[in-house]
Amino acid sequence: MKETGIHKRILADRLFKALIVLLACSCILPMFLILFFITKYGIAVIDWNFLTKLPAPVGELGGGIANAIIGTAILIAVASVLAVPLGILAGIYLAEYRKTRFAYLTRLSVEIIMGTPSIVIGIVAYIWVVMPMGSFSALSGGIALAIMMLPVMVMSTEETLKLMPDSMKEASLALGVSYPRTIMKVILPAGFSGILTGTILAIGRIAGETAPLLFTAFGSPFMDTNILKPVNSLPLMVFNYATSPYPEWHALAWGASFVLLAFVLILNLVAKVGMKKWKVRF
């Protein structure tokens, strides 16, 4: 009686273990499949010309994604210039004045922006920037992406600074250092690794966004570095080429996906390594 009870328990134990291992595998599997297919179809297209040439017109072979790479870089730069300083400052405010009403309101707004569908943010940028300026532009795309980036920046800064011990701030203030200098020269440097990691992850988040760019950056077959003109971006190019009827464009879409994925993966790795390497020991 007792014996069989124990056997049953051991069996149940093993079954449960097997089940959770299986479920864990089923989480990893999609990632490997994605990596596998994108690499399989994407890597064949990639060569020097692909990375440095402009897209070819329909019917011509070859062509590249140089304008999309530059366009993505411009969009990320515009978004970062807007969202990083603003996000860090708002994060400092939230970490310093945690319990004020205004902090509560700010936190709520940030969460709402975080949860807003990206297409809606695209439409907002269209109404705010594209309509008054009268044309699609990298600037409007950058603004849309900045709105998406902002909540990540605010939250990661706040989380990082909340972990800073109060004793550090007191040490600085007790030396007669003013409050702004304490924030800029003691608190921020100590939180540098966390804030930098947050920035990298935020860039990773916006690098692959398509929806907010559909009616802002719009896409363009030309190389354009003017931020007031429409630009192409990697996700937009994937979207446009993959939905086209031409097989050679499909191949380019795979290639562009591969480049985009590689970029985001590298960013994530850098963030992981950076988090460890630049961590401040208290």
């Binding site: 004793s167 600085s172 203030l173 030396l175 007669g176 250092v177 200098r181 020991r281």
Partner: protein, 252 residues
């Protein structure tokens, strides 16, 4: 007798409705060690945090009465100036984690944007580390992070950091409570040596420590100054019954 560097007049402090200190009148003599002792929660830390205006950093904090530094009310002086004149060392060592030992000592100058020549800075750092009895141990590793030092060394680094600003008064808030006995005796010896250079006010709930190192002792109980006087007298012939009971270990 000796001159007075700081005194409080009918001084009280608290948070919102919670009155922590009541009618404190204390006279701190120059170049002496004054110990402030009392049971936990009696307000001794609040008292010294008022002296360099750290108390008011807490939003609900309030104060009444005056604290006179060289006959000038500290509440009429910019807190930044007060804190440069009255240095502070905290309960737990808190060197700046991003800075080297050298930069920690020079932090008061670097962070405040006070420009001094490299050679002046070098000599201030060396002088401060020597005063804090740390120079010998760290002179070859000045550019390592301060957080790699042991707890006792970190606390002496914090003392050096406070001394570098050449304050008139050094406030020590139970500086040895987080340290082992060896580091504690190190700090005690150091404090005794330091009194030639700076007036020291040390908070402690360690009765023997107050007896060992201080010249004057204040006993605070439930936010009131019960007794203040020469350490020798207060420990041998206490005037107040509560002091006697505290020293005998009946409460606290």
């Amino acid at each position: 007798m000796e001159s007075t560097v700081l005194r409080t007049e009918h001084f009280g402090a608290g948070f919102d409705d919670n009155q922590v200190l009541k009618d404190i009148n204390i006279v701190i003599p120059r170049n002496m060690i004054t110990a402030i002792m009392g049971p936990s929660g009696c307000g001794k830390t609040t008292l010294i945090r008022c002296m360099n205006r750290m108390h008011e950093l807490i939003p609900s904090a309030n104060v009444t009465g005056r604290i006179l530094l060289e006959e000038e009310n500290v509440f009429d002086i910019d807190p930044i100036i007060v804190r440069r004149k009255i240095g502070m060392v905290f309960q737990r060592p808190n060197p700046f984690p991003t800075m080297s030992i050298y930069d920690n000592v020079a932090a008061g100058y670097n962070l405040n944007g006070i420009r001094i020549s490299k050679s002046d800075k070098d000599s201030i750092v060396e002088e401060s580390l020597r005063k804090a009895a740390l120079w010998g141990e760290v002179k070859d590793s000045l550019h390592r992070k301060g957080t790699f030092l042991s707890g006792g060394q970190q606390q002496r680094l914090c003392i050096a950091r406070a001394l570098a600003m050449r304050p008139e008064i050094l406030l020590l808030d139970e500086p040895t409570s987080a340290l082992d006995p060896k580091s504690t005796s190190h700090i005690e010896e150091l404090v005794v040596q330091l009194k030639n250079a700076v007036t020291i006010i040390q908070v402690t709930h360690n009765i023997p420590q107050a007896a060992r190192i201080s010249d004057f002792t204040a006993f605070i109980y439930l936010g009131e100054l019960v007794e203040f006087g020469l350490t020798e007298k207060l420990f041998t012939v206490p005037k107040d019954k509560r002091t006697e009971e505290y020293l005998k270990g009946k409460f606290g």
